[in-house]
Amino acid sequence: MRAVGMILAGGNSYRMKELSNKRAIAAMPIAGSYRSIDFALSSMSNSHIQKVAVLTQYNSRSLNEHLNSSKWWNFGRKQGGLFVFPPTVTAENSYWYRGTADAIHQNLNFLRDCHEPYVVIASGDCVYKLDFNKVLEYHIAKQADVTVVCKDIPGDEDITRFGVVRMNEDGRIVQFEEKPMAATSSTISCGIYVIRRRQLIELIERSAEEGRFDFVKDVLIRYKDVRRVYGYKIDSYWSNIASVDSYYKTNMDFLKPEVRDYFFHQYPDIYTKVDDNPPAKFNPGCEVKNSLVSSGSIINGYVEDSLIFKKVFVGENCVIKNSIVMNDVYLGDNVHLENCIVESRDTIRANTYHIGEEGVKIVIESNERYVL
């Protein structure tokens, strides 16, 4: 592959509410076994991108723990590797990353030292599979300066939290609005870009000189009329998880057979950090309907239309419906959960009742657990 990868995983969003209190969005657990960033990393690895930089800033402990070894995604070769770049204080710079373009700017040396002619930029908060070789082929065929991966979203969804684009017949982006008040098109940017490495360095340097720090607003949108910015449309599954509702919905999508088949059973696979958990255990008295259950869990109660992540203990007579229970949660006996997201490593006391009546309820109890 003739590209290096950069994953922007530094941001936070108020839309995640309490869920981002203890982790970066890119480290959000997804579909029972994965973390959000696995999808970008696996797509890059499966596209034979060998060198990937992850730019982190906000609350990165959990993400760093997940990225503890590059071998999970098949990086960590003599040629290439997985690099994690948090902001650092240097002789020239003592700022945090002030925006996505600034994050790249502060790590321009990484790009300067590469020899690959192209860069794939992706974000860590989307769930998808993508062959970046195809995007690159398109990019070269269109003689584009920047290629933006786009997707049509059905009319009934609110897309004003995305970048909304309009393309001409050739695929060139003629209109690009970031988080518009009212969307004028149903095509959105997926936050995945292909760009020539030298071009990127030049654009980022120029923006930095002008004190501009955002890649979309200050680079893409400003340059779209003077540079050839093209859209590459995908119609495969793509979902952004950066709000509580979309996080919930994206997870629930995995209860659909076609989504499971696409991500779990079709080649290539999504990789993740390996936890050596035993198989899930279903004890007498349990009843599980239309749910995903991950390794290391022990189920004693009733579970319906829900996702049970790794190492969850569900006590006796529990009722769990339409809920997401994240990693390493202990649910005492008789707990009732409906429309809830239970934060990881939590302990929910026995006989408690949680119902998300208007939308999804985030359950965080932070009770202490006694472990031997």
């Binding site: 779990f264 050596d276 899930a280 279903f282 007498p284 239309n290 259950v293 390794s295 996702l307 049970i308």
Partner: protein, 424 residues
């Protein structure tokens, strides 16, 4: 110069013929256990958890799956710059080439491997037991008793002691007598086939016995050391230990994992058992499924009923299918409305729609009543069972079987159908 205090030699070359079709195409240590594990994961995980980072795995019989499972030892953290795991198959030598003719002979042929690490102690393990054991504690015992050889033993019920090799110890733990499957056992301490040798004693014994045909630890090396008057001590182990040598004990020890609080607990954070991770996605349990008292591994999709069973990774159980008291291994597909009772289905097999396995009366197997008993129906790997057929108890099936292989659509209890041609 490289120096390792202790290295482990893991004997994984045996067929384990009493497991019948399960080991027809794969060595016993590579047979699945407990859903996602293979038997060899237990001793390998014990090694790394005990701080032993140099392991030689001696392979001979059907090593393909074993080799690809072990690889360079990544799942067990045994990919090391110095040491780690090394697979040791028999090899050709100038003048005299031979297979591994016995357990001790296999070790003897790898003298150079052991000498390379310059060990003080050598731990001899076998790849067919299910247990968690801290070998470091055993090593401490070996050292504090100034022993030349330590043998791990465990107390068994006195009335069963006649099935084992029994050791009689003095009050210091030193072994004063061996009894092999004695009629009147003088003790209830059974040897577990786990030995720690002081390197000098092992080397001396192996060289002295180098001409011994089929040189074996239990039959030759230990008696030799005993006759020479070396200090042989018994290290008593009190914990779960299971020899899964027969289909019955294999099935039983799998089933024991389902108990609410199993005697052998895989869910403890401490002393994890490691294995390869070729299946990452979670498992899906559909609306019509019923899962009860079972272990189900990653990536499986369950649409039918699963009761008292162990399901491996990536298994698909169709609508209306019923799997009861059974073991289904990795990658197998059970089609709609199939019914399995006390059945073991090995890897990557397919059970056709509406097939019924493990039904009918219990009749002893005609060909090998010693292997296929316990009322189990056993389906080998890469086997397909056509739709609608009935298979009885104490049966074995291998290969791509067709409807015409089943007269009247039935394989009666006690019969064997070997399409893969793997029976000796």
């Amino acid at each position: 110069m490289i120096k390792k205090e202790i290295i482990a030699m893991l004997l994984a070359g045996g067929q384990g013929s009493r497991l019948g079709v399960l080991t027809a195409q794969v060595a016993k240590p590579a047979v699945s256990f407990g859903g996602r594990y293979r038997i060899i994961d237990f001793p390998l995980s014990n090694c790394i958890n005990s701080g032993i980072d140099t392991v030689g795995v001696l392979t001979q019989y059907q090593p393909l799956r074993l080799n690809s499972h072990i690889g360079i030892g990544i799942p067990w953290d045994l990919d090391r710059n110095v040491g780690g795991v090394t697979v040791l198959p028999p090899y050709e030598k100038v003048g005299k080439s031979e297979w591994y003719t016995g357990t001790a002979n296999a070790i003897y042929q790898n003298m150079a491997f052991m000498e390379h690490y310059n060990p003080d102690y050598v731990l001899i393990l076998s790849g067919d037991h299910i247990y968690k054991m801290d070998y470091e504690v055993m090593l401490d015992y070996h050292k504090s008793h100034n022993a030349d050889v330590s043998i791990a033993v465990m107390p068994v019920p006195q009335e069963e002691a006649n099935r084992f090799g029994v050791v009689v110890t003095d009050d210091q733990g030193r072994i004063c007598e061996f009894q092999e499957k004695p009629e009147h056992p003088k003790s209830n301490l059974a040897s577990m086939g786990i030995y720690i040798f002081t390197w000098k004693a092992l080397k001396e014994a192996l060289e002295a016995l180098s001409e011994q045909e089929g040189c074996d630890f239990g039959k030759h090396v230990i008696p030799y050391c005993f006759d020479k008057g070396e200090r042989i001590v018994a290290y008593e182990f009190n914990g779960y230990w299971k020899d899964v040598g027969t289909l019955g004990s294999y099935w039983e020890s799998n089933m024991e994992l389902i108990d609410i609080i199993p005697e052998f607990n895989l869910y403890e954070e401490f002393w994890k058992i490691y294995t390869t991770n070729d299946m990452i996605p979670p498992q899906y349990i559909s609306s019509g499924a019923r899962v009860y008292r079972s272990l189900i591994s990653d990536g499986s999709e369950i649409f039918g009923t699963v009761e008292n069973s162990i399901i491996g990774p990536g298994v698909r159980i169709g609508e209306g299918a019923v799997v009861r008291d059974s073991i289904v291994m990795q990658g197998t597909v059970i089609r709609r409305n199939a019914v399995l009772d006390r059945t073991i289905v090995a890897e990557n097999s397919e059970i056709g729609e509406g097939a019924v396995l493990g039904t009918g009366e219990e009749v002893p197997n005609r060909a090998r009543p010693d292997i296929y008993s316990y009322g189990l129906a056993v389906v080998g790997e890469n086997t397909s069972v056509p739709a609608g057929v009935k298979i009885g108890k104490n049966t074995a099936v291998t290969g791509a079987t067709l409807p015409e292989d089943y007269p009247d659509g039935v394989l009666a209890s006690g019969e064997t159908l070997d399409k893969a041609g793997v029976f000796a």
